[in-house]
């Protein structure tokens, strides 16, 4: 059986196609303003990569903030349930999922059988999300993909004092003016976002194994910072598709 999962997030739209519960194709695109257009493009791209005709997809599940805008979805689940399902595909021993997306971050805990046990999401604050990093990347004029390299070259432990993304940006600019090295600033930023995530983790009962998902999982700087608190964190080869994958897997249960 062939199923599809669609995850429409605030920054990116993802589609995953599975056959007999295995991934056969996926696509990721920036969501933008033309949601409908992007949706059909992402869906088509995933189908192309899977080498199938969309007609052959038997069941479709939608998730993410835009889940209600997928007219052809058979069922809708929240991203919490979908991330849990997707995480177990990549790492079956996962019992805690940290998902850092474009505009929100969440921590999901599973019980022994891999069922949803508890979850917590960030409240009205961009500081623990991808948005924070995008803002900083622009302020520093350094690509997000380079954050890991810069982190490792840091020689000084600076500390960000602001908890707010907007104020932190001003702080970064003043640090640049004080001639602080970009390597040290980037490390401080990664540590700052990591601390907010760890605080979120602390609000519910969590245990090994940990999995990191969402677009920010691709940021090596953040991963290094998180690993200073959680020794072992599993990261899927494509962490952004965890939600859409979970949706596609849930489609088998309809």
């Amino acid at each position: 059986m062939i199923t599809a999962g669609i995850d429409i997030g605030s920054l990116s739209t993802k589609a995953v196609i599975t056959k007999n519960r295995k991934i056969i194709g996926y696509a990721i695109r920036r969501t933008g303003m033309k949601q409908e257009e992007i949706l059909s493009e992402v869906f088509q791209e995933a189908a192309n990569k899977a080498n199938i005709d969309k007609k052959n997809i038997e069941k479709i599940v939608a998730t993410g903030y835009g889940r209600f805008n997928v007219p052809f979805a058979d069922k809708i689940y929240t991203e919490i349930t979908c991330h849990a399902k997707g995480a177990l595909y990549f790492f079956p021993k996962t019992r805690t999922i940290i998902d850092i997306g474009g505009q929100d971050s969440k921590v999901i805990s599973l019980d022994d059988s891999g069922r949803l046990n508890d979850f917590v999401m960030n409240d009205r604050c961009a500081a623990g999300t991808g948005r924070f990093l995008e803002v900083m990347s622009e302020a520093l004029d350094i690509k997000l993909s380079k954050f890991g390299d810069y982190f490792l070259k840091s020689k000084k432990n600076l500390r960000m004092s602001s908890v707010c993304t907007v104020f932190a940006e001003s702080e970064v600019i003043s640090l640049i003016a004080k001639k602080e090295r970009k390597e040290d600033i980037i490390k401080a930023l990664c540590m700052a976002i990591s601390e907010r995530i760890i605080a979120l983790v602390g609000r519910i009962e969590t245990r090994d194994e940990f999995l990191l998902s969402g677009g920010v999982a691709k940021n090596k700087g953040v991963v290094y910072a998180l690993k200073e608190h959680i020794k072992v964190i599993n990261i899927p080869h494509e962490p952004q598709i965890t939600g859409a994958l979970g949706a596609a897997l849930l489609a088998y249960e309809i």
């Binding site: 919490i80 979850f119 999401m121």
Partner: protein
Amino acid sequence: MDEKTLSSLMKIPFIYPLELIIRKIYDKPTAIWLKFTFSRFRKAYKKEKPVVWTNAFMAQEFLYGLNTIPIFPEVIAGLYSYLGYGAKLVKTAEMKYSPDICSFYKAGLGMISKDLLPHPDFIVSTSHICNGVVKFFESAARFYNCPFYLINIPYEKNRENIKFVSKRLKDIKKALNLKDDKLNESIYLSNQARKYMDMINSLRKKSPCPIHGNESLGYMLAMYFSSWGSKEGMLFYKALYENLRKRKVKKEKYRILWLHHVRPYYENNIMEILLNKKARVVMDESSYLWDELNENKPYDSMAEKLFSHPYGTAEKRIKIIKKMAEDYNIDGAIHFSQWGCRQSSGSAFFIKEMLKKIGIPMLIINGDVMDERGYEPEQIKTRLEAFIELLEGK
């Protein structure tokens, strides 16, 4: 329509001819609630009797017993928020007061500032449920230049403390120089209303439960906070019981316990989202009932009533919630943590831990119940739906 016009509308007796029409559109309990709310406003503006401002957790029987017209700013604030004026009132208060105060009191200060309420002749308030209410009434007393009588409720319920509160009530009566010849009647009416509320709570233990949070945390809560000891209160609970007894509803899949008595009063779809997912708010913390009042010892039993509700210490809250969760066969609990409300949010994690031990998951939602600017529909929807999915998986 602006809030000043609305306030003026509350002064005219338009509600009486409309009551018959209202009964056709709404059911009887709603009509009683509407009439009760507006007619008291009218009487208070006409100064037919002494007007007393008081808090939601007061022993209302005392004030009805003294033949006064109690006005409940907290309840009226909820009503104004329901009608879409929440943010406006809060913004007014934020020009002078700290934005971190609980928005119930910001709205209250906004109502005073815009002169939307009948003026009090005096103010009586208990220390329930927080410091904010005390400070609010102190401000109101200064503004209206009237006496303010505070009834401090000790944390522990024991003979000595009950006597302390009982004496305080008697002292206030003396200071006000009012006769309490209506007290027997108000105690009687309160007990009658209580009987019906008790029967309603028994219906709620059943499945399907005939009432959902949109009603129990709506006009039912408004009456709970304002009508014990009044004739309309008794009529309301009787009518509501008769209504619920005959009601036919679909069986719920998930039985939810709502924690902390508040939920957003402005337009929102929280209860709708839950019901769409076959989850019903069958019980809430604020529907807690005290022991029947003793007509022969009115002051002592009113004092004892003031110790009965869940708010006070975290230990007391946890104990009462645990029993509720068991008695009402609860599948999951939702705690609405109001911004700036420490006395309720403070114990939320402890309650969650306790419920976890008895196998009941709990969702904590943060938000502002009065100020619609504090509502994030998509975020709340995701949390509610994810919580139901969690219950589904259990």
